[in-house]
Subunit: 346 residues, 2 copies
């Protein structure tokens, strides 16, 4: 059938780029996927105990979790949609709305891949050399697009788009997705803009500050018309019972997460200051720091740390930019110190 298989394949599928996830090696310090290495609140562990008795039934706490998240976001449950990580919400947005799409370069690579999977055109606007955004240029090019993907703070640069620029972009009245995966490390959100803009979709996750990457739960916040539409294209039961219980408990213990987030922010500044003594480092508003490893090759930089038991992310070249890049996630204070020791030997 090999020859016929190709006949059945959607024509754009062959062009889809592969997503390259961060490596996990047992026993290594992992600073490659912007995880929170302190782990979740102890209350999450109790929640998991609770979930054990309902493993055999389909997840059924969507409404409770939406209600709980609505409280955290100061909005209503009807404005919240749950996803199997916020990645699922990108898929739902692309299923509900027509392309073309537009995003930033560099940015989280999954927007482009997700669009490609559904055969949607994806335009890109290069950030400035310091990774700030020229909103005029973005608005100009986005006239051709229907769906706009912004990541704020932006992954992998750590840079942010100020609110006045976000408003300018939102005024264009396109479906505007603002991915706030790193919100808790930044503190500023586009959520209050939902009062004015019903073309806005904010995405959040429990994978970063709340340290639940392994459980896969994210959410979207938007006007209830958009939420209803996204639920129309959503499979039932995409967030599992353990994640649902864990998310509720994590939000019951915000102080725990806040204290860890504050530690990570302090350590990020220490890391940034150390890195910028040797390299072009970019001020970050998230839980990672991006550097241009020049004059060292980024692969060599990456391998230096790998040989010392530390996994960072080698990003190589960015299309249209000079230099070569690595991204270092902020780990625990101990892990950070280990990274800095290895950096000082470099």
């Amino acid at each position: 059938m090999k020859s016929r298989l190709n006949e059945y394949v959607k024509p754009w599928v062959n062009d889809i780029e592969a997503y390259i996830p961060g490596k996990t090696i047992e026993g290594y310090v992992k600073l490659a996927s912007n995880e929170n290495n302190y782990g979740p609140s102890p209350r999450v562990m109790d929640a998991i105990e609770k979930a054990k008795s309902v493993l055999h039934i389909y997840p059924h706490k969507d409404d409770d979790v939406r209600e709980k998240i609505a409280g955290y976001c100061n909005t209503k449950a009807e404005n919240i949609i749950l996803g199997n990580g916020s990645d699922e919400l990108l898929d739902l947005i692309l299923k509900a709305f027509k392309g073309p799409c537009i995003g930033l370069n560099p940015s989280y690579s999954w927007y482009k891949i997700a669009a490609g999977i559904l055969g949607e055109e994806y335009l890109e606007v290069n950030l400035n050399d310091d990774f700030t955004l020229s909103s005029e240029q973005f608005i100009d090019k986005s006239k051709r697009a229907n769906i706009l993907f912004l990541c704020n703070p932006n992954n992998p640069t750590g840079t942010v788009i100020p609110e006045d620029k976000l408003r300018e972009i939102l005024d264009e009245n396109k479906i505007t997705v603002i991915d706030e995966a790193y919100y808790e490390f930044y503190g500023k959100s586009a959520v209050p803009l939902l009062k004015k803009y019903d073309n806005l979709i904010v995405l959040r996750t429990f994978a970063k500050a709340f340290a639940l990457a392994g459980l896969r739960i994210g959410y979207g916040i938007a006007n209830s018309n958009i939420i209803d539409l996204l639920y129309k294209v959503k499979m039932p039961f995409t967030t599992n019972s353990v994640a649902q219980e864990a998310a509720i408990s994590a939000l019951d213990d915000l102080r725990y997460t806040e204290s860890r987030v504050n530690k990570i922010i302090k350590d990020r500044e220490i890391l940034f200051n150390k890195l910028k003594q040797k390299f072009r480092a970019f001020r970050s508003h998230a839980n990672f720091v991006l550097i241009d490893t020049t004059p060292i090759k980024s692969k060599e930089f990456y391998e230096w740390f790998l040989e010392r038991g530390i996994i960072i992310r080698n990003l190589g070249k960015f299309n249209g930019f000079r230099g070569e890049y690595c991204r270092i996630s902020v780990g625990t204070s101990d892990e950070n110190r280990a990274f800095i020791r290895a950096l000082e030997e470099l």
Copy 2:
């Protein structure tokens, strides 16, 4: 923006039917979603303990789980793809391959909805009056389709398609999906046919016999060319860490699942014999029994049990069929007895 929102919506999205899941009410006996009410193996609980220490990192055991499942299916890891339930695999198949699609009526309703979400045409072939399949009729109509969805044993009828008919259908050389969600209750599988047919995709799940519906993990088995294609259109990290550990442990304790499956099969026969004394009941090869509630309305039948603390599934009328239908999942022996007591009072 309300008026403009509609401009951006993909035209077919408004036509998508809603999926109606089984109800869960705390304290009620739930015989509505074909779950295994005995719950999973105690070893699964140990596995969850293990997963607690890695909640903060992205799931990273895909390869181990694929290897383990390959052992269970007597195939290779390269022939296995994991999903967030087998529902995700339906989405991936529809993303990778061109429609139109074809399926049976009645059958698992998600095939049609999933196709509709991606704007793919979905044809249907009515089963015979006794819910067996006329394969000639199916093959004839499927000439117009590229993707064929079969559910074997079929949900909600419990009927099966014999292997010779499956071979006839597979000989047509279309992308043929055989959903074996209820395989463990039937015992016969299309997996050995993979040696001959590289157009075959078998779907399985841990939600039914393995009692892990809450964790969301399913898998597909196919030729490695198809598996590679499906991975191209798949988001990373769709099965969570707890599900991955649980699946491995469940397969380490097959005897536990087998003993519960055998009990469920025995109880299904008791249930079937009781039901057919009063109603047109259909012989089932899965963990549920379908009945035509005539002369009672299916809604009244459903409510009789609901008033007695038992939730079954009211399916109402099937398009093109006489009668009205309810589906009763086989619960634990105690739950079954409670159902039969209520049935005898009816």
